[in-house]
C-alpha cells in the first residue's frame, strides 16, 4: 500500500476505520437536506421600498381591503431562492441525467438545436396581442408546421391551439360532438374506449358529457372486434383507440375498426400519444382516423414532464375540419392572417395560438431530421424496444410474448411470484441503481404491469447498461434478497414514502408551527 508522509494511505478509502458514519447535518456529501421554502429565510431580510403615502391618502381609503393578517409568502433573498430550487433540482431525475424509460410517455432526448432556435428573439420575445403584420414569421412557422403535421398524418386539417395531449383529446371530441349536432343527430350519447386506454380517454369523453363504455381486449392485447361490433350502434358518437396501443402493440385490425365505426355513423378518434412509433411509416389518415392529437412534446422532442409545457395539435378529417376551433392561421392578401371568428367553429381551446415555443422546437426537430430521419425515429423506437424486450425476456415474463412489440415492451409480474418482491418494490430498487423506474401498474389489463419505453434516442451501450442493471436486480430478487427491494430506495434523497397514508390523509398545505413551539426553541 502506498503511504503518505503523514502515515496514512494515499487512497483514503482504504484507511483503517473508514466507514459510513451518518452526517451531522443530514446532508449527503454536497447534497443538502432542503427544507420547505416556507421554512427558509424570513421577512427580516427582504422587503420593498414603497414611496411615501401621498398627502391626503391613508389606510382608511382602502376600506375593507386593508389586509388584517400577514400574507404568508416565504421571504427569501435572491441567492436563497436560487439555491433552494437548484438543490431541489439536484434531488430530481431528468432525461439529461440518464435514460428515463417511462412507458407511454416518450421521455427522449430534446436536441439542443431546438432550444437555440426557440430562443431567437423573433420567436421568444413576441406577444400574442401584437399586430399580425409584426409577427409574420411566427405565423409562417405555425402554418408550415401545420402543413407537415397534415402531410405526416395524411389528414386535411389541423387545430394547432390545444396545449397538451388530453387538451387535444378534448378538442377532437368537441369537434366530433359539433359534427353530430350539425347533422341534427342528438341520439349519440356514448363513446367507446378499450380497457387498455389511457385514463385521459374516458375522462375526456365523460368531461364532454358522454357515457363511456369499455370495449374488451383479446388475449393478444388488441381491440376485440366482435365486442366492438356488438357495442356499436346509433347511440355511439365516437370510438377512442390508441395506436400503437398502451400494451405497445399495433392494432392490426385498425382499418376494420375504422370501417365498423364509420358504418355505425360514429367517428374514429385516435390517441396519438404513441405516434413516435409510426411517424414517417404510417399515415393515420390512411387507416380511417377522423381525429388524432399529436403530442409534439413526445414525437417531436420538446421538453415535458416538469421540463416544460406540452403541445397537442389535433389533425382532423374532412368531415370534422369545418368545426375546428379558432383562432387559426390562413394565407391572406397581405401575408398570413389569424381567423378569430368562424360561425362553424365549436369554440376556442386557448386564448391565443397555442404553445409557440413548442412549435419552434418541434419544427426544428422535423426539419433537422427530414423525412428519412423521421422515418428512422419510428424504426429506432421500435428496434430499441424490441432489443430491451428480447434481453429482459430472459429474466422477466413478457405480457405478450408472441411477435415483436412496437415502441415499448410490456412485462407482467409472474416472474416475481414467490420472491416476496412486488412490481412497486422492484421499481423502487431501480432508483437505488441510478435509473428512473419504468411505468408500473399500467395498463391495468396486465397484472403488476411494467411498461418500458426506452425511446429512439438511447444508444445500444445505454440500453445494455439499463438491461444489465435490470437483469442483476432480477437475479437478486430470485436469490431471496427481498430486503434489497422491500425497503428501497435506500440511497435516494428521500426513502420510500408512505403513499397510502399520503393518499388517505393528504396534507396539502404547510402550516406554520404553533407560536408556543417557536418560543420554546
Amino acid at each position: 500500500m502506498s503511504m503518505l508522509s503523514t502515515g496514512r494511505p494515499t487512497r483514503p478509502e482504504t484507511a483503517v476505520g473508514a466507514g459510513d458514519p451518518a452526517t451531522l447535518t443530514g446532508a449527503r456529501g454536497l447534497l443538502q437536506q432542503e427544507p420547505l421554502i416556507f421554512e427558509l429565510g424570513g421577512w427580516d431580510k427582504t422587503g420593498v421600498d414603497l414611496p411615501p403615502v401621498p398627502d391626503g391618502l391613508g389606510a382608511d381609503d382602502l376600506g375593507d381591503l386593508v389586509r388584517s393578517e400577514p400574507i404568508g409568502l416565504p421571504g427569501l433573498s435572491e441567492p436563497e431562492a436560487v439555491r433552494h430550487y437548484v438543490r431541489l433540482s439536484q434531488q430530481n431525475h431528468a432525461i439529461d441525467l440518464a435514460l428515463y424509460p417511462l412507458g407511454s410517455c416518450t421521455m427522449k432526448h430534446n436536441p439542443r438545436l431546438n432550444e437555440k432556435l426557440a430562443r431567437l428573439p423573433g420567436f421568444s420575445d413576441i406577444h400574442p396581442l401584437q399586430p399580425v403584420s409584426t409577427v409574420q414569421g411566427a405565423l409562417q412557422l405555425i402554418d408550415e408546421l401545420a402543413h407537415w403535421l397534415k402531410t405526416l398524418t395524411g389528414l386535411p386539417a389541423v387545430a394547432m391551439t390545444p396545449k397538451a395531449g388530453a387538451h387535444g383529446e378534448l378538442c377532437g371530441i368537441l369537434a366530433i360532438q359539433a359534427a353530430h349536432r350539425a347533422k341534427g343527430d342528438a341520439a349519440r350519447t356514448t363513446v367507446l374506449v378499450p380497457t387498455s386506454a389511457h385514463g385521459t380517454n374516458p375522462a375526456t369523453a365523460a368531461f364532454v358529457g358522454y357515457q363511456v363504455q369499455e370495449i374488451a381486449q383479446t388475449a393478444d392485447g388488441r381491440v376485440d372486434l366482435a365486442d366492438l361490433e356488438a357495442k356499436l350502434g346509433p347511440h355511439v358518437a365516437a370510438i377512442m383507440v390508441t395506436n400503437p396501443n398502451t400494451c405497445g402493440l399495433f392494432e392490426r385490425d385498425i382499418r376494420e375498426i375504422a370501417r365498423l365505426t364509420h358504418a355505425a355513423g360514429a367517428f374514429f378518434y385516435c390517441d396519438g400519444a404513441n405516434f413516435n412509433a409510426i411517424v414517417g411509416r404510417v399515415r393515420p389518415g390512411d387507416l380511417g382516423v377522423d381525429a388524432m392529437h399529436i403530442n409534439l412534446h413526445k414525437t417531436f422532442s420538446t421538453p415535458h414532464g416538469g421540463g416544460g409545457p406540452g403541445a397537442g395539435p389535433v389533425v382532423l378529417s374532412q368531415a370534422l375540419a369545418p368545426f375546428a376551433p379558432i383562432p387559426y392561421v390562413v394565407h391572406g392578401v397581405d401575408g398570413f392572417e389569424l381567423v378569430e371568428a368562424d360561425a362553424r367553429a365549436f369554440g376556442r381551446m386557448s386564448a391565443f395560438n397555442g404553445q409557440m415555443g413548442m412549435f419552434v422546437r418541434a419544427y426544428a426537430y422535423m426539419l433537422s431530421h427530414g423525412a428519412d430521419g423521421l422515418r428512422q425515429v419510428a424504426e429506432d423506437a421500435v428496434l430499441n424496444a424490441n432489443y430491451v424486450k428480447a434481453r429482459l425476456s430472459t429474466v422477466m415474463t413478457p405480457a405478450f410474448p408472441d411477435g415483436p412489440c412496437m415502441h415499448e415492451a410490456l412485462f407482467d409480474d409472474r416472474w416475481l411470484e414467490g420472491t416476496g418482491v412486488t412490481t412497486l418494490d422492484f421499481a423502487k430498487a431501480m432508483i437505488d441503481e441510478g435509473f428512473h423506474p419504468m411505468t408500473m401498474y399500467f395498463p391495468l389489463v396486465v397484472h403488476g404491469a411494467m411498461l418500458i419505453e426506452p425511446t429512439e434516442t438511447e444508444s445500444k451501450a445505454e440500453l445494455d447498461r439499463f438491461c444489465d442493471m435490470v437483469i442483476a436486480l432480477a437475479a437478486a430478487a430470485r436469490a431471496g434478497d427481498a430486503a434489497r427491494f422491500t425497503g428501497a430506495p435506500y440511497h435516494a434523497p428521500r426513502r420510500r414514502l408512505d403513499e397510502t397514508q399520503a393518499a388517505r390523509r393528504p396534507r396539502l398545505k404547510w402550516t406554520p408551527p404553533a407560536p408556543e413551539a417557536v418560543a420554546a426553541e
Partner: protein, 121 residues
Amino acid sequence: MHFTKDHEWIAVEGDIATVGITNYAAEQLGDVVFVELPEVGKVLKPGDSLAVVESVKAASDVYSPISGEVIAANDGLTGNPETVNQAPESLAWFARVKLANAAEVTGLMDRAAYEAYLQSL
C-alpha cells in the same frame, strides 16, 4: 350471498340488496385510499357506476349488477377507506339498493361458482 364476474358481492334480504366488493377484488386493488359512494335516491340499472374505489395502484368503477334505487350508502367508508381492505365482504358494504327486479340476482354466481371462477383466472 351472490357474486359477479366483476368481483362484487350482493346479499339480499327481502327486497333490499347490499352490495360490496369481494376479498379477491380488495386484494387485487391493494391499499384503498378513497371511496366515492352513490347518493341516496340514485336509480341504477345494471352496468351503471355504483361507486368508485381508488387504491395506490388504480381507480376503478364498481358497476351495479342490479337495478333499483339506492336507499343507503356506507358513509363510514369515506373517512376510513382502509375498511375495504380489512373487511371487504362485511363491514365495507358500499350501498343498499331497493331491488326493482329480483330476478337479476338469481342469475348471479353463488360462492362455490365464484370460487371456481377465481380458479379459472
